[in-house]
């Protein structure tokens, strides 16, 4: 009886075929998935490209600002050096003028 029952169960659960055209529907779905994947890849590539452009622009601007700052600092340094040199020259000239200047004349008043 047990064997009969199992045999009946076996027959009750006989494999069944899917509806006609199953294989074509699977292949169509694969094609659909492929193109959908391609669309996704293209979309992601566009987003990545746009992000790269923005990043490059930000980086470029930052580099440009840094370079400008460096140039400003260099110019400031040169100006200070020039001022220092000028100050030294003036000092030398001032001392020379003081050294060569005649002593005030004695007017004999004894004062």
């Amino acid at each position: 009886m047990s064997k009969d029952f199992e045999q009946q169960l076996h027959e009750a659960l006989r494999p069944v075929d899917p509806e006609e055209g199953f294989e074509q529907r699977v292949l169509a779905r694969i094609v659909q998935e492929r193109s959908s994947t391609l669309r996704k890849v293209t979309r992601w590539a566009s987003v990545a490209l746009a992000a790269s452009v923005v990043f490059a622009a930000v980086l470029g601007t930052h580099e440009w600002q840094l370079r400008r700052e460096q140039e400003g600092l260099e110019a400031r340094k040169q100006l200070l050096e020039a001022l220092r040199l000028t100050g030294e020259k003036l000092d030398v000239a001032y001392q020379a003028v003081n050294r060569e200047a005649p002593e005030p004349a004695d007017d004999g008043s004894g004062a």
Binding site: D4, E11, E19
Partner: protein
């Protein structure tokens, strides 16, 4: 298989033709709905297409397809909360029936199998539809052999009782 792996669509179509019955039947017995079974079977072959490189033989392929079909079906049942079939113990009692070749009886048996909880149903389907032995069922479902045997024994007792109209109190969940 090699040609399918190389991307030859006619070779892959041949694989689909060869295994569509197995995959679709498992899906149908598990989900009890032709449309959902077809959708699930398509998904299984789609997954196969993506992972063909990992399949190394026909035996492996058959094992892989059964495993993926059953697991996807169980996942879907859980996800869709379609596991609201009344437990078999609460099913409407059927009158005493002799066990004989009877299309109606077969239909009733299939309906009763469809009321089993997912794991027990998977075990019964793999045993009586796919003709796998308990060892193969255990490896397909990642279960111990004892669990498989236990599912089989309890499901058979329950199904037999239902078919014969014997009241049963045990809940196999």
């Amino acid at each position: 298989m090699t040609r399918a792996r190389a991307g030859e669509s006619s070779a892959f179509a041949a694989l689909v033709r060869r295994y569509q019955r197995t995959v679709y039947s498992i899906a149908l017995r598990m989900l009890s709905d032709r449309h959902r079974a077809e959708d699930l079977a398509q998904e299984v072959f789609l997954q196969l297409y993506r992972t063909l490189d990992g399949i190394d033989s026909d035996t492996h392929l058959a094992f892989w397809l059964r495993k993926v079909a059953v697991n996807r079906a169980i996942d879907r049942m859980r996800m869709e909360s379609r596991h609201d079939n009344e437990p078999l113990t609460e099913a409407v009692a059927v009158a005493d029936e002799p066990i004989e070749d009877d299309p109606l009886l077969h239909k009733r048996m299939a309906d009763l199998v469809a009321q089993l909880p997912p794991a027990a149903r998977a075990v019964v389907v793999l045993r009586y539809q796919e003709d796998l032995d308990p060892t193969d069922i255990a490896s397909t479902l990642d279960m111990s052999i004892n669990t498989v045997k236990s599912h089989l024994k309890r499901s058979l007792t329950l199904l037999r009782a239902r078919v014969q109209g014997t009241a049963i109190v045990e809940d196999i969940r």
